[in-house]
């Protein structure tokens, strides 16, 4: 459910409506871990539903990712041979020591899962009436 244009614009931005017609990836990114948490406000006995969510937005920079970008970079040869050369593009390019963001992302992923597990444990300890079921929500796209 995506469309070009919309909102009276000229179509430079892809548009996606909400309203439950979004793709699974959109829905996951939009609603998971967002919103008011009830047990902050009131002691509630939650139904013993456990849900383990993997945040689809977190992509761990892995060797596979590196190889994918290396491949894409190597592919650029084609353009060069085609005569479209590189000069003229050098403005505003910042360089610097590549500070590893990778570790940060890994930590974030671990934290997230731990959070969720911790939450689930709390929920379970509140006398669930139903057997906890572990459920995974996964992004199906990409």
């Amino acid at each position: 459910m995506t469309q070009r244009g919309g909102g009276g614009g000229g179509g430079y931005v892809e548009r996606a409506p909400g309203g439950g017609s979004s793709s699974l990836a959109d829905v996951v990114a939009l609603i998971l871990d967002k919103g008011l948490v009830i047990d902050v406000f009131v002691r509630v006995s939650l139904v013993g539903i456990e849900i383990l969510t993997i945040d689809a937005r977190i992509v761990v920079a892995s060797v596979d990712t590196y190889l994918r970008f290396a491949e894409a970079t190597n592919r650029l040869d084609l353009y060069e041979k085609g005569g479209k050369d590189l000069p003229g593009l050098v403005q505003g390019i910042t360089e610097g020591g590549a500070k590893g963001k990778t570790t940060g992302v890994l930590e974030a992923a671990a934290e997230k899962v731990n959070d969720i597990l911790a939450n689930s444990r709390e929920q379970r300890s509140e006398e669930p009436r139903r057997r906890p079921v572990r459920q995974r929500v996964r992004e199906s796209e990409e």
């Binding site: 614009g9 939009l30 609603i31 009830i38 539903i49 290396a70 491949e71 650029l76 390019i93």
Partner: protein, 249 residues
């Protein structure tokens, strides 16, 4: 309200003002498919029954949660609950609303007439990789070296090349993402940045926009999209319920 028995588990989508009329055509995630409200004073919880024979979290559950909230958001203020909000008994909902009524009303007031738009953007890979290549001698040299080696002999160099490129993209997007947000902030009441994923993701920001200024905001996004055409592909999701603008805790 009669569709829910007092002691049955209840799913809560979110909170609305008591005088907001539920639109037709809302589809809940419970077996009945129905959606109703539990009113307490000036606030109401939007609720439904909940499937008891299977775990929650199927695609349809997520879609129903979002569908109900986004449809409500188009009518008036709504505070989304975090998925999945299930209470054991219908009666507990009142326990949630009663002591927090003022707080919830305040929250709803602050969201009245506003909607969320989520803007994401990705680099046009080839264009930006070419920029990276031009700007980095080490990357260029490494690429030349890899070219001269047979594929199985260049594995570690290719990993290293990819790592350098990924870091270069990550560095580049920090500044560029910030510029995009800066340009759009004047058209929004608030903005929240989400964590970026893939290395070519440039921006992922939720904006809270006045309904009256929606078109103005959309045009501004369109303008940024035009400026970035060929380098960054923008995608605008919304209007949706203000998922990113519910205070933590």
């Amino acid at each position: 309200m009669n569709l829910l028995e007092a002691e049955s588990p209840t799913y809560i989508y979110g909170l609305i003002k008591a005088d907001t009329v539920l639109p037709d055509g809302l589809t809940g995630l419970g077996p009945s498919g129905q959606v109703s409200t539990i009113v307490h004073g000036r606030v109401a919880a939007v609720v439904s029954d909940v499937p008891l024979d299977r775990p929650l979290g199927m695609r349809a559950d997520l879609v129903a949660h979002e569908g109900v909230l986004d449809t409500l958001a188009a009518r008036g203020a709504v505070v989304p609950m975090r998925f999945p909000a299930v209470v054991e008994e219908h009666a507990v909902v009142d326990e949630l609303l009663a002591p927090n009524q003022d707080h919830f009303v305040e929250l709803l007031d602050s969201l009245e007439g506003r909607a969320q738009f989520t803007l994401t953007g990705r680099y046009e890979q080839d264009a930006v990789l070419r920029e990276v290549l031009v700007g980095d001698e080490e990357i260029r040299a490494l690429r030349e070296k890899i070219r001269e080696l047979p594929e199985d002999a260049s594995y570690y160099d290719r990993v290293r090349l990819g790592e350098l490129v990924v870091h270069a993209l990550e560095q580049r997007r920090e500044g560029e993402g910030a510029v995009i947000v800066e340009k759009l902030e004047p058209f929004a009441e608030a903005a929240v940045s989400n964590q970026l994923g893939a290395p070519d993701e440039v921006v992922n920001v939720a904006f809270l926009v006045e309904r009256d200024r929606q078109e103005e905001f959309e045009n501004a996004v369109e303008g940024v999209g035009e400026e970035l055409v060929g380098r960054v592909r923008l995608r605008l999701l919304g209007p949706v319920a203000p998922y990113d603008f519910v205070p933590e805790g």
